[in-house]
Symmetry: C2
Amino acid sequence: MLSTTPRTTLGRSKERGSTDRDDLYEVLDSGLICHLGVIVNGHPMVVPTGYGRIGETLYLHGSTGASSLRAGEGTDVCVTVTHLDGIVLARSIFHHSVNYRSAIVYGRARLVTDEDERMEGLRALAERLAPGQWDYVRKPNRKELAATAVLALPLDEASVKVRRGGPVDEEEDYDLPVWAGVLPLVTSWGEPEPDSVLPEGIGAPVHILHRE
Amino acid sequence: MLSTTPRTTLGRSKERGSTDRDDLYEVLDSGLICHLGVIVNGHPMVVPTGYGRIGETLYLHGSTGASSLRAGEGTDVCVTVTHLDGIVLARSIFHHSVNYRSAIVYGRARLVTDEDERMEGLRALAERLAPGQWDYVRKPNRKELAATAVLALPLDEASVKVRRGGPVDEEEDYDLPVWAGVLPLVTSWGEPEPDSVLPEGIGAPVHILHRE
């Protein structure tokens, strides 16, 4: 079960909320990027960035020089992952909606200093974005590791919202001669595009060719 | 040209930045949802939400009871729109990246009170998410309008970042017997799914069937 705190208790659309930890993991583990919210000089700042998960910890990374990461270290952050699954077309504009799955994680990010945890965090990040690549390509060297900051965020405080299904209209609008339903949004992988300087004879590995 | 302020001046990857207003509009006008960052009780909060644009103003909306909107009214917010176009697979983990187009808008949101501007803002929101629907379905009535808050955010302070193309590897890594390139991420519309209670004989309109 996910903990319930004032900021994870949904004020609206309570029927869309989930307190199931498996739902949280499902949303996080099927995303590619998150939107990281931090406060910089008193203002909110939202940046898209990669992430990875190991058990109950979310890992983020960035250049040691990135202002968003510097702002996030040791302070409260918010990480949001959103999957947009379709547009819900109702019989009135007011009831138009979207089908989506989203997770919002709140917490204090910790700068990871343990070298083993740093490496495992980076591996989790790489596996989320490009599964199979960690074992296939050159791993980070000492210089690259020194340039990379890794942050850990505990998955203690989070909320999950899911909307599925067709429109819900006002009773009197069902008689309108108007089409209603869902226009699904489909995300898929295209054909791998080889680097222009790739030598002949090097084919894309199976984990790229047949990525799910 | 976009204004340059400390928070829109890119600290890193300057070659990815754009100060062209057309690039900003292109990113905003091809997105479906944004991630809205606000400060709630001193903590950052990032929520996915719809938006629309008219000229140099971005419009957001929500229930008059939504805490994210209440927090955003009259205070600084950050609106980020991100398109993920592909995964960049390099010869080293460190140089893995993503191809993307993103816009980050900073500003003070204004609660729209003028009824004409509210209606136009809502129309812009609807046209972004579901073009053609505003003129096709029932428009908002007085009760629905009263339940909807509309916020306006000037597009005065914004940054745009775009990454395209293949991996950029370390000189010595180009000799590795490793495939490198880009795995494109493709987003497309699926087949419209009619509402289960839709009467026979009502077909989906052209703007749904042939949405770009």
